[in-house]
Symmetry: C2
Subunit: 216 residues, 2 copies
Amino acid sequence: MVYYDITQEQLIQMVTEAVLLEIKKAGSNVVPTGISVRHIHLTREHVDYFFGRNYQLTPRKQLSQPGQFACEETLDLIGRKGSIKKVRILGPERNKSQVEVSITDARMLGIEAVLRSSGDVEGTPGITLRGPEGLLVLNEGVIVADRHIHMTSADARRFGVKDGQRVRVQVEGQKPGIMDGVVIRVSDRYRLDFHVDTDDGNAFMLSQGQLVTILK
Amino acid sequence: MVYYDITQEQLIQMVTEAVLLEIKKAGSNVVPTGISVRHIHLTREHVDYFFGRNYQLTPRKQLSQPGQFACEETLDLIGRKGSIKKVRILGPERNKSQVEVSITDARMLGIEAVLRSSGDVEGTPGITLRGPEGLLVLNEGVIVADRHIHMTSADARRFGVKDGQRVRVQVEGQKPGIMDGVVIRVSDRYRLDFHVDTDDGNAFMLSQGQLVTILK
């Protein structure tokens, strides 16, 4: 048996690419699912605040979207009613800090659940972040991410959909059904992936990478 | 202004009955939603074990199904990975003890999520319960309750469905969609109610009592 010197990450990448290639061949409307657990995006300024000036976040795992990565670093979320420890930071830095939680998390924290697309944080609830050496109060930035599908413009042509369009997605399995109002997000920097949070994932008993169908 | 001497519970009961009456009048396929938070059903023997011989559970709130009530008494759930404190016991006693959790809860506890109808606990995972004065290891009994609609035989005739049939339920709102595979449960002891757990409730952003539609 021959062992090649590749990392588990490279292997996952290769398998993912192979699956995506098969999906495209089939000419079907299927899309792999990515379930997002609660996480934090920080500005450069807030990385400095928590970890020191010019600190570089430590990549732990590449995510499905090119250039995005989960970091070794975590922070605690502190709400009025409860707190959640060790919530992972995702890199790279963004121009606004943002905390993405499920509605289940929001209730546990005692924070209003506001459904938004990533980046659209104006007027959303705030939260307190606790790092290894300090607290930071965000005045806004807590969102429940609206279900969405990342795709390239080539994917969009193939599916016959446009950026910003809302579609229905069919899920099979033990808890089957249809998620409606799923936003299409098109950019050639994206890779095809249906992003839901853990509430959606658990309600539909989805597993990471499970194939679902865009309904026309 | 005249104040009548009724409890909040009686008021809720009256409003519920009035809503159900309106629903029936309309001749439509709408059903009110009841979201079940994690809870525990105990046998008479296990009530004795935790609280003392012939102890009577203390009703705190009547539930939508006639004769069912949430109790003042709670127990802690202890799993391999985590524990959940103060989980409410529902009365009256049953002939098998059963713990109903969401998939989110099951993950937090480190227990396999097994989808079952209430009462069907054979071969399901076990759990440790912690009471005020002791621990009890259940060898089985942890289920994720399958989505279902309680109704009377008159409701079933009106909707044109049968006991055990699976239907689709349409949800409107900010996170709309369709739950498929929803089990119809018919008994003249029931009252019309669509029962989901907190994962379904949060994924579809449902509120307690929200009206949903049975699709034919």
